[in-house]
């Protein structure tokens, strides 16, 4: 029983790091209609920046995370204002292609800047160690991830449901031309949404640095998982992304425990089952 509980909790912490990255992806898709392939790369940039500020320059961890969010925000702004903006009128596939171009560039760019060897900052003291849960040591770090994930969830929910900005964003999401015509500064909405998404991706990457590595290619590892989760939850739905993360996180933790050989399949099987039963994902709006 303890084993089950412990593994489930591990699954929840997995889910929270998945949630951070899929939240941004789903917001950007929901509003801009863009499938941002480079979302994983922003995750990677977040990790590298956190490494640089925290591991290399020795800034406090919290500050380093904030700084890396700022860098991601700037990068997101450049991507959106400089490039994506000019492609909104084209088929989705062209945006996909463009963001794929970003992936290629950013992957190599970090290699040129930081070298091919992965980077590892030390573990911040307050995140080190474990405390007993179900009779086994459960890392403080994973507990921290769970807390952050829940906080981000509440924050985003409030942002989109309770603020006027959220309503403006939802209107823009459904008909950008008309929103523009009633006076919504749509380009600005797009930029802010893209920047928020980019920062969420970077947050996922930055928070991961203490226990993972920053390496070229870690973005590619995340992005497909994030796609799967957003689709399971229903594209554009934050509630869906949260639920999807929990489903994928927890089921894969149990999968590792009970069916270790199928690791590779898990998330795809989950997604297929969900889509076959609910073609629009769990929480999609029915239009």
């Amino acid at each position: 029983m303890d084993t089950i509980g412990y593994q489930g909790l591990i699954g929840v912490s997995l889910a929270m790091s998945l949630w951070l990255i899929s939240a941004g992806l789903t917001i950007i898709f929901g509003v801009l209609g863009v499938i941002n392939f480079a979302h994983g790369s922003l995750f990677m940039v977040g990790a590298y920046m956190a490494y640089t500020f925290y591991g290399l320059l020795g800034f406090p961890f919290g500050l380093s995370v904030l700084l890396s969010l700022a860098v991601a925000a700037v990068l997101g702004l450049i991507m959106e204002r400089g490039f994506l903006r000019h492609l909104y009128h084209l088929d989705h596939a062209y945006q996909l292609l463009l963001t794929f171009g970003f992936v290629l560039v950013l992957d190599d760019a970090v290699k040129i800047i930081w070298g091919g060897v992965f980077k590892i900052p030390p573990i911040p003291r307050f995140l080190d160690g474990a405390w007993p849960v179900f009779g086994r040591p459960f890392p403080v770090y994973n507990t921290f991830l769970i807390a952050i994930g829940i906080l981000v969830g509440i924050g985003l929910w409030a942002l989109f449901e309770k603020t006027w900005w959220g309503r403006v964003v939802r209107a823009t999401a459904s008909d950008r031309e008309m929103a523009n015509a009633i006076g919504v500064n749509v380009p600005w909405v797009f930029s802010t949404v893209f920047v928020v998404g980019a920062m969420l991706a970077a947050l996922g990457g930055a928070l991961g640095t203490p226990i993972r590595v920053a390496a070229p290619g870690i973005g590619a590892a995340m992005i497909i998982q994030a796609f799967i989760i957003t689709v399971i939850g229903g594209l554009g739905s934050l509630k869906g992304a949260f639920t999807g993360s929990l489903i994928v996180g927890i089921l894969s933790a149990y999968g590792t425990l009970f069916f270790p050989i199928f690791e590779l399949f898990f998330s795809f099987v989950i997604m297929t089952v969900v889509l076959l039963v609910r073609p629009q994902g769990l929480f999609a709006h029915v239009n």
Binding site: L87, H89, A93, A109, I224, F227, L235, F268, G281
Partner: protein, 330 residues
Amino acid sequence: MTYLRHAHIMSGPLTAALVAALIVLPLLAGNYLTYLTIQILILSLFALGFNLLFGYTGLLSFGQAGFYAVGAYICAKILLVQPSLLLGVLGGTVAAAVVAVLLGALSVRHTRIYFSMLTLAFGMMIYSVAWKWRDVTGGDDGLVGIPRAPLKILGIASISLSTIEHYYYFVLVVVLLGVFFMYRLVNSPFGLSLQAIRDGETRAPFVGMSVTTHRLLAFTIAGLYAGLAGALLPPLENTVTPVMAHWTTSADPILATLLGGIYVFSGPIVGGALFIIIKDLIVRVTVHWSIVLGTVVIILVMGFRGGVAGIVAGMVARPRAAPAPAVASK
């Protein structure tokens, strides 16, 4: 919004000249160039099938590599047992089409990104099977030592294809036939129906067609083309590995098609050639191919928004005329 039609940039004489050039190519070019051209031919075929789904039917599949791999693995398996090229290639193609029918039946009711993700999942499941079912597929190391078997025609003749040049001609013939059939297909009533479905999914049933049946057929044909392209690979490389089924391989025809242009018949072919040539040239200069290729992709997307062939088609600006009027205007 502008409405780009499926345009043509290849005139008859131009096509003839291109085919002639392809025929003499191995006589003039070195081994490597011939090899590279085979790769271009295979990717073109792969992308052409993909674009039947994407450009014509409006379904963006992220899982075409799955069928590509099925074609390759089955062809490889056959060749390892029975070294007959025709049998291998046919077997691979048919197997891919069969798998496509099965998976298509589950996917074609979905559209847009949901379809894309479902096909991604199926492709990755095929990948996982190739990776995990080691007794049959050789696991991540794949199947090796696949012979470039001779072309046996009904036991009457047997042509050795062991050299790259000979194999090149075989591939050329297959690909030209593939292009020809696809050309006829997209201009047939079936091709027209697909485009109608792409443009007005809800409207299509009311002109009397079954959207699902048409999509399933398109999916199967695309799978068949992917399988055929895949089946041409093992005899060339002597190996098949699971990466063939990975989503990154599915990205190749997508990139090629988008670079070339979705709404131009020859877009996938132009894009396929461009994609392979650009990358080959970059790799010669730098190991940082990724940043250069990425930049090229970004420039092409920003600059050639309708795809390279699309832009050319736009310049040629010959809006395709409807069939000649059968009755005089009143």
